[in-house]
């Protein structure tokens, strides 16, 4: 009798556990019906969040919900309709046929410690450093020391932009590179280590690190605007089709002089004209 009861209990336990797992594993993503859902690149996210706050103040009752996830996830979300708008910090690939608008450009700065005498590098040299072909600062006219290469993690939009713009198809970022998962962490390490080199969003360069000149061109906003500084990437908003209603109102707000000024104040480079 007891043996039978035990068996029953065990069976019930197993069944319950399995049922629970299946329920929760098959998770579903809900979305709100009111307001605009924007998802994607975490590089674009802080700026859009700021714009969304301002937009909500000006349009009471309407909300813009901003989520991260990365460029690819944002593009997929826009494609499937999980989000109204997707944020991307890279150009669309050929097979991604979506409506898109460039909202700003973001420069990428190659940064070194302020104590490092090296302050001008060519694009080939930067590529050489990250491919681990140049491994000592003396090869670049600096004080002899091993170069500590710092990169972003796989999947990061900043990393893929850097790979596209600097490494090209034939070089890869060395696996020996130290990997950090945010612009801030890269900056913090470069600020503390005199032998290190990293790359971060131009808007996030501060006095704790030194942005090197690239091919003799200073890494400043004006040079990106004039097209002299070659390391920059576009920030895009994408949608499945040309957006209407509140989504379009939000895009109009982002591209308005007021929106541009907000982005400019935060270190982004809004597009000139219209």
């Amino acid at each position: 009798m007891t043996a039978c009861k035990h068996k029953k209990m065990t069976l019930a336990a197993v069944a319950l556990v399995l049922a629970l797992s299946v329920c929760l594993t098959a998770s579903c993503s809900g979305r709100s019906d009111s307001g605009v859902v924007v998802a994607g690149s975490t590089s674009v996210q802080p700026y859009i969040e700021l714009l969304a706050e301002e937009f909500a103040i000006q349009h009471p009752g309407n909300s813009v919900d901003v989520q991260g996830g990365g460029s690819s996830a944002g593009i997929t979300a826009a494609e499937t309709g999980a989000a109204d708008l997707g944020m991307s910090s890279r150009d669309l690939k050929e097979d991604e046929r979506l409506w898109s608008v460039v909202i700003a450009k973001d420069g990428l700065a190659v940064i070194v410690n302020p104590k490092n005498p090296v302050s001008d590098l060519s694009l080939e040299q930067v590529c050489g450093i990250y491919a681990a072909e140049i491994t000592n600062w003396s090869q670049l006219g600096g004080t002899p020391a091993k170069i500590h290469v710092i990169a972003r993690e796989e999947g990061s939009g900043t990393r893929s932009a850097f790979e596209d713009l600097v490494m090209g198809d034939s070089f890869r970022i060395t696996p020996k590179a130290i990997v950090q998962n945010s612009n801030g962490a890269v900056r913090q390490i470069v600020a503390g280590d005199p032998d290190s080199v990293g790359f971060i969003s131009l808007g996030l360069v501060d006095q704790t690190v030194k942005a090197v000149k690239l091919n003799g061109v200073a890494a400043v906003r004006e040079n990106v605007l004039e097209g002299n500084y070659s390391l920059y990437r576009p920030f895009l908003l994408v949608a499945k089709a040309k957006p209407e209603g509140l989504s379009m109102q939000f895009i109009d707000f982002v591209l308005s002089p007021e929106g541009k000024k907000l982005m400019m104040d935060e270190g982004l480079i809004p597009l000139q004209g219209d």
């Binding site: 336990a13 556990v17 797992s21 990365g70 500590h148 999947g155 020996k176 130290i178 998962n181 280590d193």
Partner: protein, 281 residues
């Protein structure tokens, strides 16, 4: 009526107990359902012994991270275990009551510090110290081992101390009566007798070190290459998940879950080994 109450309370406790196990089952089912397809696709040998990790190019080899986990954990054991065992012997045998009353809560407190605080402290103090003393980038196996060595201390100390205190009084009294000194008694009688408890303490400490993520993510440097010295940066299995989960989607995400499976199996083996050692008396 009374019988019904008895049965009801039994059922309630059973249900509550079940909920804790179902959490484990849920996690297991989820990790395996997400990660196993990728391991099957890549091939288990290629996944575990592959040297290259580049999910964006379809390369899924986690061998450098297995090496990373092993070296950092061994380093933590080398630093934490001797200190921990000595500390437990001190607490069990030498410390006057007033002092052990101060030490014990302090060690418990060490266990209560959140791991992110250890990591932040490591990044701001240990990393520059290692960089200035030994060279290299500072973010290294050595730094991670130091942090983890400190983090496993509470586990090692409390379990070893309990197992020393649990020894029958006769062991010590007999040894002393035979004319052995206090130190001789400790190393020739008490430590060997408490061996199984101490080994379990070490294994559980190692389990803690293998599973730690937040603290090491900040101080290890996370490079996906097999290290050449203890001053090189490495990535462990846990930090691989922690650092890349933010952007991962599709196969990349599956690969992170697959990393989780490997970790899960490793920790299960460690824990069952610890149980086996403590039960075998």
């Amino acid at each position: 009526m009374k019988k019904f109450k008895e049965r009801l309370s039994g059922r309630i406790f059973f249900t509550l107990a079940l909920s804790s196990i179902s959490a484990l089952a849920l996690i297991t089912v989820f990790i395996i359902s997400q990660g196993a397809p990728l391991i099957a696709e890549v091939g288990i040998i290629k996944f575990i012994f592959g040297m290259e990790w580049a999910p964006s190019r379809g390369e899924f080899g986690i061998f450098p991270m297995i090496i990373g986990s092993v070296t950092v954990t061994l380093g933590a054991a080398v630093i934490g275990v001797p200190v921990g065992i000595c500390c437990s012997v001190f607490l069990a045998e030498f410390a006057p009551p007033a002092m052990s009353n101060l030490f014990r809560p302090a060690i418990q407190l060490l266990a209560g510090i959140p791991s992110v605080v250890y990591g932040f402290w490591g990044l701001l103090f240990v990393v520059p110290a290692v960089r200035n003393l030994f060279g290299g980038p500072g973010l290294s196996i050595l730094t991670g081992s130091i942090i983890l060595g400190i983090m496993i201390l509470p586990t090692v100390i409390s379990i070893s101390e309990v197992s020393i205190l649990a020894l029958p009084r006769q062991y010590k009294e007999g040894a002393l009566a035979l004319g052995m000194t206090h130190w001789q008694t400790i190393y020739a009688v008490m430590l060997p007798a408490a061996k199984s408890g101490i080994v379990a303490a070490v294994i559980l400490g190692i389990g803690r070190a293998v599973g730690e993520t937040m603290a090491v993510i900040m101080v290890l440097g996370n490079a996906v290459a097999v290290p050449e010295s203890i001053l090189d940066p490495v990535r462990t299995l846990t930090t691989n998940i922690g650092i890349e989960m933010g952007y991962a989607s599709g196969e990349h995400q599956q690969a992170l879950f697959a990393t989780g499976i490997v970790l899960f199996v490793a920790i299960m083996i460690l824990n069952s080994f610890a149980q086996y050692v403590t039960r075998r008396k």
